[in-house]
Amino acid sequence: MVMELYFIALLIPVFCGLLSIFIKEKHKMKVCSIFAGISALLLLKPAIYSIYTGEELSYSFYISEIFGRINFVIDPLSAFFILVISIMSFVGIIYANGYIKPYLNKKLNTSSHTFFLMLLTASMLGVVTCQNALAFLILWEIMSLSSFFLVIFEEDKKEVLNSGIKYLVYMHISVIFIMCAFALMSNISNSFNFSDFTNAINQNSHFKDIVFILSFIGFGTKAGFIPFHNWLPDAHPSAPSHISGIMSGVMIKTGIYGILRTIVITGIPSKIVAYCVLIIAITSALWGVLYAISQHDIKKLLAYHSLENIGIIGIGIGIGMLGVIYHNGYTAILGFSGAILHVLNHSIFKMLLFFCAGNVYNKTHTRNIELLGGLIKKMPYTAALFIIGSIAICAIPPFNGFVSEFLIYSGVVLGMFKSNIALFLTLVITLSSLALIGTMAILCFTKVVGVVFLGNPRSKEAENIDSDASKVMTVPMTFLAILTFVIGIFPQFAVSVVAIPTLNILGFNTIPEEIKSIFELANLISVLCFIFLAILAITFGIRFLINRKTKKHTTWGCGYNKINSRMQYTASSYAGLFISTLKPLFKRVPHIKKPKDLFPKIAYYEVEIEDLEEAYIIKPLIKLDEKILSKFERIQNGNMQQYILFGLVFLILAILGLIFIG
């Protein structure tokens, strides 16, 4: 019965997507949000049931010889991801109602947009439950393609199309690796079912590492681990904000799901692979936050922060794997539970931040933070929500980001007590990198908050905002903000959601003693948060009891009284000191237009900071690719007859090959 509920909930978005094609443009999103809400409601029961009881719900059916039996299984790990995907997509679709309004009646293809939006939701739900390799790949591909069409919503813009194609290419390279991993496993197990994979891998344990590495590369590209991250900072700014929110908050988490599912299937890989995962994760996190500091496009900056948070999730996974390898139960449980909780936390605050960025873009039509400023006066709700989101993403208590990072931290510290020298030093490096990431995130988000929302407006666009975002947009955002706070002060609830999925990954059948530790830590955080809030309230009271006399004046300008907005500190100068100390890590691409003639009209100097990976790895590779492929240009001559000839030649070669080899 429960599984039928799940299938209905899975088909509702698909049906609604088809339905939305025939509805008036104005009402499309409304219908979609209603159906997405119903689907999320229906999914609550199977998801919560499985998370709290730890039982597996499964349903299988038979389509054809090729597929074998297709299994849809909701185990606690899937259930957790179902919960995140369904609720967060629903919130995103409600927000889309408001965001898409200015785009209506502009001859953009909203029909395909709503259709693919619903298809994306359905395919993500399918991906996290499907346990048949072939069907999984089909769903995975539907997910990638539908998100591609969502990214290129404003297809008339060239850079949007470019970044969409880049995303598509990355996804197709990644899927090759996933296919290889699955092909390898299905070859040794003669089946497409994940459960058969497990048995086969257990018998041939030498395949464990290679399968894990292949699927880590494949799924890691989706998640955005370094060095496969390059699509992220391009795709997110190009997509409309609700799509960036859903993609960054939910869709890239299917990559994390894939990695965790691989761990469930193959078991923990060998020591060296676990160390590599940890190193990649740390690099991703540092790289992400470093480039986020250098960016002045608000959505690109947030995209780089996705990289950072994926890195933190990866650190949790790496620590957890090392904990299992070194038989340290506390570290294993704390690492994995921290990682899974961070999946939830990141999806909440990242969506919140992307939606705020969307509100700002909707009102000012610019993403360049150097042109903004003083928005808190015109858009107080958005500003408050953005500040809450930034405090949460900087992992500062009493908000939710801290809870998951604290779990990872304590896993690292407890891991140090029972380790050898290599592990000890790795853990200390991890610990200090996490601290570095935290402070760099503070630097980055104080920059954004300070430059975008505080101070004086820096341009006409920022000055002439008429009103805050509409209620349709602020209500779902407020829900997310409340969620960050509630998880921050009552982490017991969130921790109980991740406890059983963690055991699911680790393959425990009984409930071990160590699981108590995460509840103890959650209680500790909760108590401390309440003490802190009490102190805050008392100080607040005392402050306004003592003295309420105030006066207004202009800002101190060193004796100069006519300060204007151009004298303010800018984002580049705020980040400048930090970036100049780490010069070799950035490639500066200057765009100069020198003043000419006696009365120069236009002159400017602009510095763009390019990703080192893109500059020194991706671009040379593409150049090489072009060089080789240009030799084959002659083949593509537009002559249909010749194309058919090529097909014929290929067929003949294939048959000849079969004859000789077979």
């Binding site: 500040i387 601290a435 503070i442 003490i531 008392i538 003592i546 003295n547 006399k549 930090f578």
Partner: protein, 304 residues
């Protein structure tokens, strides 16, 4: 009993520490100097004064002093005071300690950007930049100490001397130096920052609070005094022996904090502020100290 003494010391000692620093500077400068209670009087006087807010500022600017003050009070709950015991003895204290201080930092940074001033962003930029180097070093040294003593709260600090012989002494010395540099940075003292300067271009912390006035400024000054005192308390907890009668350890605590203040004052009188570009080098000394602690601890645990 200890609790009451702790709270008393927490509220009064930070001012006395500041007072002693100023007195020392006056002494080396050949002046008589103000009473050591002068910082306390200053704050009390500020509390009565009206606050002037810039027309550019928003609610954030008003919230920042309150958040700052609450955060340091909250952070002081984990720091060992008299007898080396903290008010709340919790595991993983150093993580919560630095993250909650991060909260204060976040608010003071955005509050300084809230004024739309041409100077305050400069201070904020420097403060944010320096803390990215300080925090990892602090985490490395704390993690090493925790690995050595197998205690995760701040009480690990007082256990270094007890259990490791010659290594304990070496590690203690290095930790004192590390925490002292951190005190100079976080407390905005010479040679990193000069609280007495009045040139906006060279200031770090002072320039961030240029626009605060009245009771707000009082709360900020109080909070930064407590913050500096907390790092002082961390240093003293390394040295003061355990299990003494409360009165003696209380006296010892006050004495060592005063001595620390004297040292800070002497440093301020003897050297000048570093140039902004050299501050990084100074902060990297802290990182090197932290790595040395790590090396020693690694050798102590895994050496044989």
């Amino acid at each position: 009993m200890t609790l009451i003494l702790d709270i008393l010391i927490l509220f009064i000692m930070p001012f006395i520490m500041l007072g002693i620093i100023k007195k020392t500077k006056a002494f080396w400068g050949g002046r008589k100097g103000a009473s050591i209670f002068q910082p306390l009087y200053d704050v009390l006087r500020l509390m009565k004064k009206e606050s002037i807010y810039s027309e550019t500022t928003s609610l954030i600017f008003k919230l920042s002093p309150i958040v700052n003050f609450s955060v340091v009070i909250f952070a002081s709950l984990f720091v060992p005071l008299i007898n080396g015991y903290s008010i709340l003895n919790i595991p993983f204290a150093f993580i919560i300690f630095s993250y909650i201080l991060g909260f204060a930092k976040f608010f003071s940074l955005i509050a300084s950007l809230d004024t739309g001033s041409s100077f305050e962003g400069m201070g904020a930029s420097r403060e944010a930049c320096f803390s990215t180097i300080v925090e990892p070093a602090f985490f490395i040294s704390m993690a090493s100490i925790i690995a050595l003593t197998k205690v995760t709260s701040f009480e690990a600090l007082k256990m270094i001397l007890q259990n490791s012989g010659i290594y304990g002494i070496l590690i203690t010395i290095l930790t004192v130096v590390t925490l002292f540099i951190m005190l100079l940075i976080e407390g905005c003292r010479v040679p990193v920052d000069d609280p007495a300067t009045h040139l906006e271009l060279t200031m770090i912390h002072e320039v961030m609070i240029l626009d605060n006035s009245g009771a707000d400024l009082g709360f900020i000054l109080w909070a930064s005094a407590i913050k500096m005192f907390l790092f002082g308390a961390l240093i003293t907890s390394l040295i003061i022996p355990d299990n003494l009668p409360v009165w003696i350890s209380c006296l010892l605590f006050i004495l060592s904090i005063s001595l620390l203040a004297f040292v800070i004052g002497t440093i301020e009188s003897s050297i000048a502020r570093f140039r902004m570009t050299h501050i990084f080098e100074f902060i990297f000394i802290m990182s090197i100290m932290a790595l040395l602690i790590l090396t020693l601890v690694t050798y102590r645990i895994y050496g044989n």
